[in-house]
Homo-oligomer: 308 residues x 3
């Protein structure tokens, strides 16, 4: 199995073998961050631009550390504080960046498909660090990596993702990745946030939490994003929490070795009880650790396919 893509745009595009190659590579890179000298020269003399048009700290910091541990040269561009975009098209901006002999662009953008669009016009590699509600492939890969590491496989596992599926790029990318590797995916939450349309691609849709998590091997609790929910998809966070928040008592009815995941940042005691977030089933901080390894793997594989 050889990697031969210069871009990572969406898990939908990948074969199961490609996804597994990323996971296997990440497992190797995970060891690097456990060494005394957390660094390998794999991308020495390569240039990575982190181009974040939507604000982000967690994902940006994770990518930046991954790049540093691969010894890449790094430039951060945050477009809010940027003069790059004054009257200029996204493509002109990115073509300019490419003209500085950049090897990889890691990009977050609020427009779905923005990365796929620019990738078609560039020789340098493009990594999607989140495009609107469409996709967030490295987040899904780190979730899948964590499940595989903890439970030994993905095939036939039951993974329930709970929350605002409608606006969630994390849910979409997880869905594609998990389905490709043979897991059973359930989306759960209020009917306003979990459309039935997902049944068409093979996802179980469920509006009752107890039912959705009863036989789950993994429960991934999405963040309720107050800042996006202005339209009133549910009456109040209190009510949301009552019906869809994961609490100790729900946990007791679930499988003994269920994994509790969350992409962060957590709204404690809204979608996830604080005691559960810090409890024995939670692998939330390990997800963060694994994110670094997964991003190192993606950067490394993609960089190897950029023509120079």
């Amino acid at each position: 199995m050889q990697w031969n893509r210069k871009d990572l745009l969406e898990l939908y595009d990948l074969t199961p073998e490609e996804i597994e190659l990323i996971l296997d590579t990440a497992a190797e890179f995970k060891k690097v961050s456990q060494r005394r000298v957390k660094k390998v020269p794999a991308l020495r003399g390569k240039t990575v631009v982190n181009f974040f048009v939507e604000p982000s700290t967690r994902t940006r910091v994770s990518f930046e550390l991954a790049e540093q541990r691969l010894s890449a040269d790094i430039v951060n561009v945050q477009a809010s504080a940027s003069s790059l975009l004054k009257g200029e098209s996204l493509l002109d901006t990115i073509k300019n960046i490419e003209s500085l002999q950049v090897d990889l662009v890691v990009m977050r953008h609020s427009a779905p498909g923005a990365q796929a669009f620019i990738a078609r016009h560039l020789n340098c590699g493009v990594i999607n660090a989140g495009d609107g509600a469409h996709g967030h492939p490295t987040q899904a890969l780190l979730d899948i990596f964590t499940i595989r590491e903890k439970l030994g496989r993905i095939k036939d596992l039951k993974v329930t993702i709970v929350g605002d599926i409608l606006h969630s790029r994390v849910a979409r990318s997880n869905m594609w990745g998990l389905l490709k590797l043979g897991a059973h995916v359930t989306f759960a939450g209020p009917s306003t946030l979990v459309p039935r349309e997902f049944e068409e691609v093979g996802v179980r849709v469920c509006h009752n939490l107890d039912e959705a998590v009863a036989d789950a091997d993994v429960v991934n609790m999405l963040r309720i994003q107050h800042e996006r929910q202005t339209l009133g998809f549910f009456p109040s966070t209190g009510e949301y929490s009552r019906f869809y928040g994961l609490k100790e008592e729900t946990l007791k009815k679930m499988k003994k070795d269920v994994l509790v995941m969350h992409p962060g940042p957590i709204n404690r005691d809204v979608e996830l009880a604080s005691s559960v977030a810090d409890g024995e089933h939670s692998v939330i901080l390990e997800q963060v650790t694994n994110g670094l390894a997964v991003r190192m793997a993606v950067l490394y594989l993609v960089a190897g396919c950029v023509k120079k």
Copy 2:
């Protein structure tokens, strides 16, 4: 020929030989960015502070990559987000930075002459990355480098710069550099934006585009900066574009091998037709690539003259 200036403030100060030394050095550094490992240890253990009091992304990113490819240590200070300036004079701020044993300060400032002022008080080197409407020497050097690379020389070439000359540091720095190397310079645009005073230093001033570009070897189209033109120097961008925008039909009347340049970011179909910007005469993206090489050359030469 030896370089012996610790600062690069304005092309006006330089001899033709000094300008050519920068261009020759840049030609060497251009090769570095074409290698697999785009890095040389020339400035290892040296510290460069990018001190940008006016917002900038393109120039800052270009300098930052140049510094990384020379292996310098880099700190970015953006004064808008800065507490450096609270009640403190520019000179105190910069003296503080120098006290951190910094070797070079790359500075952008809205006040003409700000860099020249601080350079007189500092032992570290100062590179002007734009001072108000006064100068932007590395932009002019990359323009001149691109012309020389494409046409083999500067002497006796006819270079026409079109647009808002009045507010353009790019035009001023190009003018000094081109005149010193023996080119013929024409400034073109509406009379409100192209003052006759430039004739006194040997520039042809022209208010008709066809006439200005008829026998030009190079046409450099300046960006119409909406954000600065609040005073009504021309009736509308539509009218500006009609009279001074470079279109396919104008191009047909020009020399067969004319170079079309633009400092970016382009207002497509305002000062420059989109088809011309992307057409065979355009060297706009090559200018960006050359900018990196020119900045590496300037950083390298200037750093060699900083006393330690």
Copy 3:
């Protein structure tokens, strides 16, 4: 004497021997910044996150350069421009950062004790870069380093700190450090800004400037922070300056070899006459230079005690 703390939180916690170990180590690192290649590999492959929740440029730049000269990998997080904190607790944020296998967190925060709080919950090291009005240990260490370097000792010296003691973390940290090393400390300023309570820990409190500085070996003039003094602690800056500003005429009545210090940025001709700031007694820029050495020492010592 061996260093065995993974955190630097406040000078109050340290023994005199520990403070002296930092100062001695800083003296060694000061030489590094005077070399042609200003870099040692001491922290190669270690990761430092500069987490600044309050805006800061001077301290951030000083730490960042110290980290670069130790060859650390560095990520800057400024929480104002951050999505880290959206509805998330400080501890969750920091635990996330730690999960990226970070070795050290350098943190500024407006809440007194914030660093001490997180340090108890983290395995990685924590360095306090200022916590509200509580402490700023590296600033105090650089002040003490400068005094020791200039006057050869700290014991029995008379150090007068003038200004807004009430709101000053610099004054508090200096106080603890100086008292531990056997100096005599005087706090001077208007009674609204210099509470008598400090007498209980052995500080002389004085509301008359001439009296406070008459036999001082060192005078440290604090910045009057206009931005914090909204409550009217003194009638006007003019009046403050008249009674508590250090002027040439005051200097004439003082010891012949008195040191004049200031943590910066200076309000020229408010707390400090411009001629005094630039005069022969001033060691203000040397404080900045020494700050880098002191921060290198702290980073180095603390990093050596972080378990991995």
